[in-house]
Point group: C2
Chain length 250, copies 2
DNA sequence: CGAGGTCTTGAAGACGATCAACAAACGTGG
DNA sequence: CCACGTTTGTTGATCGTCTTCAAGACCTCG
């Protein structure tokens, strides 16, 4: 992992812009401001906890490639994942305003990331109100995802919970070109899914088999295939409104 | 419920300022800007769903007195509460940037509220970067609370889950002078608590009895008494960091 | 005083956890 | 390219937490 400062590489730049433009159209000046952010690239192997609970980062991290997750550990060693991040996500944009970190972040696969200094982000909040609102909205969508997760964990049975997160991931991966309603690459194991859903590995395995048996999905070799999108949505009571996939005027 | 526009009444003004100043000290100009917000007061009886999923409000609602909750309904009639709000909270500040509402809000007790027009809030985001960051931070704390809720639901047993939310409510009520580590008025029933925790009413009842039997809390007549704060925190593995109760420089 | 809501209790059962063993897939080095 | 060890997925049996249903006690308020 190197730490030399530079501008966003084309790939990373494209990912952020894609993601933010899903919330609202950006002006040329805003795109330019994003392009001029000083960033420090980094990459981490699977399993590396590159942000730790209790730290107060001086930059926010943008995920360019791979999957990572926020999580908390309990005293008994149990892990709860509170969010799975896909390329284009700011994994800790909130660390700009909330200190210290109340959770850690781990690379679930090999990850490419860039750090954006809080100083630069703060300058954006001082000078570019609209872009600030877009970034704010990005954190609000995070919150909406968390709410749906709570609904799942509280009131949906295991199979529906699994179905729901698969629907969600498909739609979140779509705008960055990494998936669609027919499926997506998903190099995570059932153990990680279990930590995300708050279930045991064994139970995730059985729920997966159930969705498989009902011809809703396949899940093998690091890829999830969605055989029946509508059926999966029905199972999950999935309503994509909360992802704010349409453009708003922010 | 009346809708005439006015300035924030002293009580409401104090609540917002107290709440926001918990995040960062406000300047005189910022306090003044808040005082000049045009607001529409409203009050709702217990049980009224005053914001409904699917709507796109033109104002954000500040809770001045009483308790209310965000919730989602499932097809089978089950309700999951995704957040309990206490006086001083903006219950739907995110509706400024996210549309339409992906959940409803219900008054859990008689509530006094004021609506703040999105137009005014947006003006703040255009002209007062620091106050904007404070408001943003308020929504980020919301998110942190949601993450802890996920940890509770996923990995904490029922009793700890109940203990955790009680610890949290105590600390969230403290800065508005409505509670402390010895307890607080809490006019909600076990059924509502069940919907918040994702448990059944019966189970909440039994977990309450368990905490009672262990001399950690009392809960009667609309008030929760905390008999042993440290014990309750231990039971819950409660770490208040996520509430950002200390001042930050935003 | 009566009526409706809330709390409490018991019994039965479902969903999911845990433990343990085995199979399959994967990656690594020879 | 194969052999091996490790990780991940699969299965079965058993156990515990939490749910459901149902009934009765307690409160509160009109």
């Amino acid at each position: 992992m190197s730490t030399q400062l530079g501008r966003l590489q084309p790939e990373a730049f494209a990912r952020v812009v894609e993601r933010l433009e899903r919330l609202d159209r950006l002006g040329d000046d805003e795109r330019q401001a994003l392009g001029e952010l000083r960033v420090s690239p980094a990459s981490h192997a699977k399993g590396v906890e590159f942000i730790r609970q209790g730290e107060t980062p001086t930059e926010s991290t943008l995920l360019v490639e791979g999957f990572c997750a926020r999580f908390n550990l309990l005293h008994n060693g149990a892990r709860q994942i509170t969010g799975i991040h896909v390329p284009g996500d700011f994994v800790d944009l909130h660390s700009l305003l909330l200190r210290p970190m109340d959770h850690s972040v781990v690379a679930l696969t090999r990850c490419k990331l860039v750090g954006v200094s809080h100083e630069d982000l703060r300058r954006i909040t001082e000078t570019m109100p609209h872009l600030t609102r877009v970034l704010w909205a990005a954190t609000l969508v995070d919150g909406a995802v968390l709410r749906q997760q709570i609904v799942s964990m509280g009131r949906r049975p295991g199979a529906a919970q699994l179905a729901h997160i698969i629907c969600e991931l498909a739609l979140r991966l779509e705008p960055v070109g990494l998936g669609d309603r027919t499926g997506f690459d998903f190099p995570l194991g059932q153990a990680e899914m279990a930590d995300a859903l708050g279930l045991s590995t064994v139970h995730v395995n059985r729920m997966t088999q159930q969705l498989r048996a009902r011809r809703l999905i396949e899940w093998r070799r690091g890829a999830i295939v969605i055989l029946d999108w509508d059926g999966l949505c029905r199972e999950a009571e999935f309503d994509p409104t909360y992802l704010n996939l349409h453009h708003n005027r922010l």
